[in-house]
Amino acid sequence: MNFPAAEKSHQPRTEQIILFRVSGQIFAISSASVQEVRSVDNIAGMARDLPESHLKKVRHSIRRGDRTLYIVNAALHFGLQPQPASLVFFLRRTRTALLIDGIEKMTTMTRLQALSHAFQGEERNWYRGLTALDQTVVPVVHPEGFLSLEELTLLEAAQSSADTRSASVENNGAHVQ
């Protein structure tokens, strides 16, 4: 006579995520990685131009406390057709402020599957993995994957150049007065 095996009570680990939209594509990010969500209109006055940025996806920076964050256009980062962004995610423990189109909802994921090794491109840095929600597949982004160290170095150089230029303009202004 066969008895069903006693089931161990496995409490699946869950993670709160935010589903967000970029050019019609849905992505997920751990809600713990998002420090703050602001509307684009709200930060428009605080953003500084980075005219010498060599990265198409980063054209502005923003000062937050003693740190400079770089505003990354998520659509350009993923190679999607950009649409007018409406929100900015300030990502915790990164130098990234992420421009997105909108938030779909907050939910919980119970499974995260690693990307298949068949995926060999930049997506290996972009995503922590994939999750299945309501019979659909959503890539879960890596908060550190929006700016590489190399890109940060380029941006710091562009920022430094922008700072020098604006200091020189201010000094000139002071002399005129």
Partner: protein
Amino acid sequence: MTVAPETALQSFVLLRLGERRFALPASQVAELVAPSRIFRFPHKSPALEGVILRRGRMIAICDIAEQLTGSRLTARRFTLIATRKYERQLDWIAIPVSGECELINVDMVPASSNDSPHVDGWLSHGGEVIEVLRLSALTPGPAETTLPAPLHDFAPVSGFVLTNPDSKEVRS
């Protein structure tokens, strides 16, 4: 008295891509399923179309017809789910096929050094000579290692429980 050399017949799955038939060792074929929705998301692996969702698992899908026949499949009747070894890990890969598959038991003639890298061997069946495919040469990703390796499971994600109902051990 002459003794015929003993040959162990192997099982192969014959698959159709356009007008041509190819074979895969049956041990590498998990199942043949009806085509299902392909989930696409941004990535930089042009050989891949996206993933399909099968029993809760997300499987990369790759049309290998263009490499083998010179044109992409116009009609997809089934999706063949095969195992693909990446270095020391096994994972599924989904391959669209254009016709029904057939299981046969036959002897394989191993490929020679003159054959293309994607040819693992040759079968003779029904008056046809059929290529046995080496998936690691047709689908993207690191090639399987030939070194003796410890047992490994499907790729885990650090810091997160990986629930994988189809996990398999790889024995080198």
